[in-house]
């Protein structure tokens, strides 16, 4: 077990050292987000630029939220939403491409990071990862079914059970669904690594191998779960710290946005670390099995 957590820690250390990679991922995350936030911000400037409302509030008071909602209704809230959806649509293929590069990078070991190689891997592996993405989405179906069915079952538990027992059942359900999701995500990460290392022609096979790895590789799941939990905890703590920053001034708001990049970087570091960890665990036994 110690070896498992040592491997997880090593994967995290390596992700932390891959500053350029994380920076690239952050940039890919930031640019569409900025684009989607611009239109509402212009709307906010029109509504509040010459108004006294909300100037000295620490975050968003009811008046600002109300006025934003009114501005959205009057001044093209639909357009704002459309821009955000567009950013999502652009980000999806971008992230698919990036995930190929991240998996390839995870298999490179301690080699120095090359942006050109990374981009080339992203492009080379895009088709493969797009197909893998499709197959892996199928894997989400049982997770969704489990979430739905368990929710319905807990909902049917009646009150004489007592609220405390009910809370216990709810917590159990949450843990079960979270474990199922973690398993799916682990299988997906493993499949991405297999898609690079094994170079199978059929991505369905890579997806199944990923699932097999997730279920059978000794010690893989606990280490992956530990990384995931640590990532969520880190994200929440940093998000809380971000929320505590004073944003009443323009400088403060921009400083908070800069700090937000640390929150997101944390999220991305743990995501890269998870892929590194999986690659480290299954790479020794990875290899062409036909295909």
């Amino acid at each position: 077990m110690n070896a498992t957590f040592r491997s997880a820690l090593a994967a995290l250390r390596r992700a932390l050292g891959d500053g350029k990679l994380v920076g690239l991922l952050l940039l890919a995350n930031l640019l569409p987000s900025v684009a989607s936030a611009l239109a509402p911000s212009v709307g906010a400037y029109r509504a509040f630029g010459h108004s006294l409302v909300g100037r000295d509030e620490p975050f968003f008071g009811g008046d600002v939220l109300g006025e934003l909602a009114r501005a959205a209704t009057k001044n093209g809230g639909g357009t704002w939403l459309a821009v955000f959806v567009l950013a999502l649509l652009v980000s999806l293929p971008l992230q698919i491409a990036l995930s190929g590069g991240v998996a390839a990078r995870a298999l490179e070991g301690q080699a120095p990071f090359s942006t050109a190689d990374f981009v080339a891997d992203c492009v080379r592996l895009f088709g493969r990862n797009a197909r893998l993405f499709g197959w892996s989405l199928l894997g989400l179906v049982p997770v969704a079914v489990l979430a739905g069915v368990s929710s319905a079952l807990v909902g049917k538990l009646d009150d004489p059970l007592g609220e405390r027992s009910l809370a216990m059942w709810k917590a159990l359900r949450f843990a079960l669904v979270a474990a199922a999701f973690a398993t799916w995500r682990l299988a997906f990460d493993a499949a991405k690594v297999r898609a690079v290392s094994d170079e199978p022609r059929l991505m369905r096979r890579a997806a199944l191998r990923g699932l097999k790895d997730a279920l059978t590789t000794r010690g893989l799941w606990p280490g992956y779960l530990a990384l995931g939990l640590a990532g969520v905890l880190g994200l929440l703590l940093l998000a809380r710290a971000h929320a505590a920053l004073p944003v009443a001034s323009t400088g403060g708001a921009l400083l908070a946005l800069a700090f937000a990049q640390i929150v997101l970087a944390c999220r991305l570091v743990f995501s890269v670390a998870a892929t590194n960890y999986v690659a480290g665990a299954i790479a020794p036994k990875a290899g062409p099995e036909g295909g």
Binding site: S51, S91, Q95, L236, A243, L268
Partner: protein, 732 residues
């Protein structure tokens, strides 16, 4: 001894209370010294004398006119979901005219079939508990419909009235509706005389709907017995002659009844925990495995009860100097200890604040019911001395917004519906609206705010999730989010005549709440307090109407407020005032160019170029140029109220204006010397009096642009988008 110490704590001064807390042997001495030292203070801290005895009977003179006296004996068959009841109703004719026709409500027939006015209305107007637009609404299994059958009705010891029973539909042409009936007496009841009727009925308890019914083995009984309507006697509610007011049960209406006494016996399986209006004066277990509970209360106008084996009963006593003691019982599911504790805290704060703001609540007992999961349709409701809230085992600490707001609101009804029995069918705002105003004042005074992320998050993650997006909304801000410059119906509209559920909701709750808050700001807090107290003082245990409230407000404030009430309560007008334009320019730009009489019969022609040249020279010589500014206000919505405007100039001087807002716009012109005369800032209602003004951002203008809010919006929206997009790698 414990009781003695509690009495000491209630009656004597703070030093004695502190001594008692410490449990010191000096407690009695301190207490005695305190009495000697400050007898007046000691008297001021004593609880008010009780208005009712331990059996729920009024001490001394009746508090109300007591038109009715009910003695009810009801038995629940919990397995079959049926109720059998008998009631002896003594009704007194308070009018000057003999009465031979008696009108009754039989509310549960609203749930009998989809031909009822209740279901017809809800399909047309919407409904608070369920989505009524679905094609298969109301979706009920065969045993989930509810109804009441009067099996026998007659004058005590006399004539059978059943043959004369007729269903009536005074509000519509729905001959299928059976929620109102009349019976004909063989001889009229003379003015001032009484008649006692004996009524037997059987009821099928509906699947929980509109505040009553069953969910599993949980039962709530509201509007559950044949109940006589109100004979409005002049001058009550403007009646010129005696008239029955007995409306059908609509999806958007509540209730209206006369004061009287209620003596009620309820028999349920003995393992059930029962809560009911009034004071419990007995409980006996019967040989058949049932238990009979006996409750009584004088001077109320309704009675409700609940029974469920899963309730845990908790009790505390409310004590405050100068206010009557109240025993408070909370019935909540097991495991709701924290929710129950906050319920006690919320109700004690309400008893104290409402008691001092409006009137000391006189009843000795209050029951708070937190319905179990799946039975929320019976939650958030008020009955005299019994209210229902929402159950929560896991409230936000220290003051859960939902729990506090619902508890304070439902208890507040014990004033505006309980003590002042307004007609909720016809003037719902008199209860819901005034009560929403009171709820808002209480929540603001208690510092209860809505923190959405904390409220929605499971308790284990609250410290992390809530802190990650610290949005906090006050009750006033929440209300202001929904204001509009134009509404569908006047506030004063019968409940079934609104456009729909949303229109009913805003007209009954939000708009009167805002209207009264504005009135408070126009009159001043102390005067508004006097208005409210005078209204309660004058109309408690009576049936006030809107005009009564308006008359009290005008009288107490010493102003004719008709202009305000006509717009705020009798029209659909709303308001959005805004600063539409501010423009300042040098005088030459607009006014000093052209041909001017020279006063000698000739003309002087000034060109723009020559004037600019002249002005430059003047400035160079140290003269300040003339500046002209124009401020334009605009208004959306038909409401016309005096609008305070504050204009601040660059040199720091200010000018106060008042616009009557009768037109759609208003120009203000200002002429001064030098740039210091330019308008730097315009503020509409700088003191924030017109809280119903629909737009807030356009209520002010500053010459200098400020990007702080936009920067904050940009930062947070970018961050939020990044978080959402950041989860895409999970999928890819």
């Amino acid at each position: 001894m414990t009781r003695t110490m509690r009495e000491v704590r209630g009656a004597w001064g703070p030093r004695a209370r502190a001594a008692c807390r410490r449990g010191a042997p000096w407690a009695a001495l301190w207490a005695a010294l305190a009495l000697l030292w400050a007898p007046r203070a000691a008297l001021a801290e004593a609880p008010a004398p009780p208005r009712f005895d331990a059996a729920g009977r009024a001490v001394g003179e009746p508090l109300s006119e007591r038109v009715v006296a009910y003695e009810i004996d009801a038995t629940l068959d919990a397995k079959a979901g049926t109720l059998k009841g008998r009631e002896a109703l003594t009704w007194t004719n308070k009018s000057q005219a003999p009465q031979s026709t008696l009108w009754f409500h039989l509310y549960w027939n609203a749930f009998k079939n989809e031909r009822s006015t209740f279901y017809r209305d809800s399909k047309l107007l919407g409904f608070r508990d369920e989505s009524a637009s679905a094609e298969d609404y109301p979706d009920r299994k065969d045993d989930e419909w509810g109804y009441s059958d009067v099996t026998a009705i007659g004058v005590r010891g006399g004539v059978d009235l059943k043959p004369s029973l007729r269903f009536r539909h005074p509000d519509d042409d729905n001959e299928h509706d059976q929620t109102v009936f009349t019976v004909e007496l063989p001889a009229p009841v003379a003015p001032g005389a009484s008649v006692t009727l004996e009524i037997a009925w059987e009821a099928k308890v509906p699947k929980i709907v509109a505040r009553a019914g069953r969910k599993g083995d949980y039962y709530f009984f509201g509007q559950w017995f044949p109940k006589i309507g109100v004979l409005e006697v002049p001058p009550t509610r403007g009646a010129a002659e005696p008239r029955w007011n007995c409306h059908q049960y609509h999806s958007n209406t509540e209730y209206y009844a006369d004061f009287g006494t209620y003596d009620v016996k309820m028999t349920v399986p003995k393992e059930y925990v029962l809560g009911a209006s009034g004071v419990r004066i007995g409980r006996v277990e019967n040989p058949d495995g049932t238990a009979t509970y006996h409750h009584h209360q004088d001077d109320v106008h309704d009675f409700a009860w609940t029974a469920w084996p899963g309730f845990v009963e908790r009790s505390e006593v409310f004590r405050a100097p100068g206010l009557p003691e109240v025993q408070v019982t909370v019935l909540a599911p097991a495991g709701h200890d924290r929710g129950a504790r906050q319920s006690f805290e919320a109700i004690k704060a309400s008893l104290e604040r409402y008691g001092r703001w409006w009137y000391p609540w006189p009843y000795p007992h209050l029951t708070i019911v937190a319905p179990p999961r799946g039975a929320s349709a019976s939650g958030g409701m008020e009955y005299p001395t019994l209210i229902t809230t929402g159950a929560t085992a896991d409230p936000v600490e220290p003051k859960d917004y939902a729990l506090w707001s619902v508890t304070a609101h439902e208890f507040g009804h014990n004033y505006w519906y309980g003590l002042l029995a307004s007609n909720e069918f016809e003037e719902s705002w008199l209860d819901e609206g005034i009560n929403s105003y009171g709820t808002q004042k209480l929540l603001d005074a208690e510092g209860v705010t809505l923190r959405p992320f904390e409220w929605l998050a499971p308790s284990g993650l609250r410290p992390l999730l809530a802190g990650a997006a610290p949005i906090e909304l006050t009750e006033t801000e929440l209300a202001r989010l929904r204001t509009k410059p134009q509404w569908d119906s006047p506030v004063i509209t019968p409940g079934w005549k609104y456009r729909g559920w949303a229109d009913y909701g805003t007209a009954s709750y939000l708009r009167p709440q805002m209207n009264l808050l504005v009135l408070e700001k126009l009159l001043g807090g102390p005067t508004m307090g006097e208005v409210m107290r005078a209204y309660v003082e004058r109309y408690r245990f009576k049936h006030p109407r809107s005009e009564d409230f308006f008359a009290v407000a005008s009288e107490v404030s010493g102003q004719d407020l008709t202009w305000y009430f006509d717009q705020a309560f009798r029209s659909t007008a709303g308001l959005d005032v805004k600063v539409a334009d501010v423009a300042c320019a040098g005088a030459t730009a607009e006014y000093d160019v052209g041909a001017f009489d020279d006063g000698k019969g000739g003309k002087v022609v000034k060109s723009r170029a020559s004037e600019r040249e002249r002005q430059k020279k003047a400035e160079a010589a140290g003269e300040k140029p003339t500046r002209r500014c124009r401020v334009t206000l605009e208004k959306e919505g038909a409401m016309a109220v005096p609008v305070a405007v504050r204009v601040t100039f660059e040199d720091g001087t200010q000018k106060a204006e008042t616009w009557d807002a009768k037109g759609g716009f208003k120009h203000y012109f200002y002429v001064g010397q030098g740039r210091g005369a330019d308008v730097a800032r315009v503020e509409i209602e700088p003191e924030g009096r017109l809280v119903f003004d629909a737009g807030r951002a356009n209520d002010s203008y500053t010459k200098e642009a400020d990007g702080r809010v936009a920067a904050r919006v940009f930062g947070w929206l970018t961050y939020a988008a990044q978080l959402v997009l950041g989860f895409l790698p999970s999928l890819t």
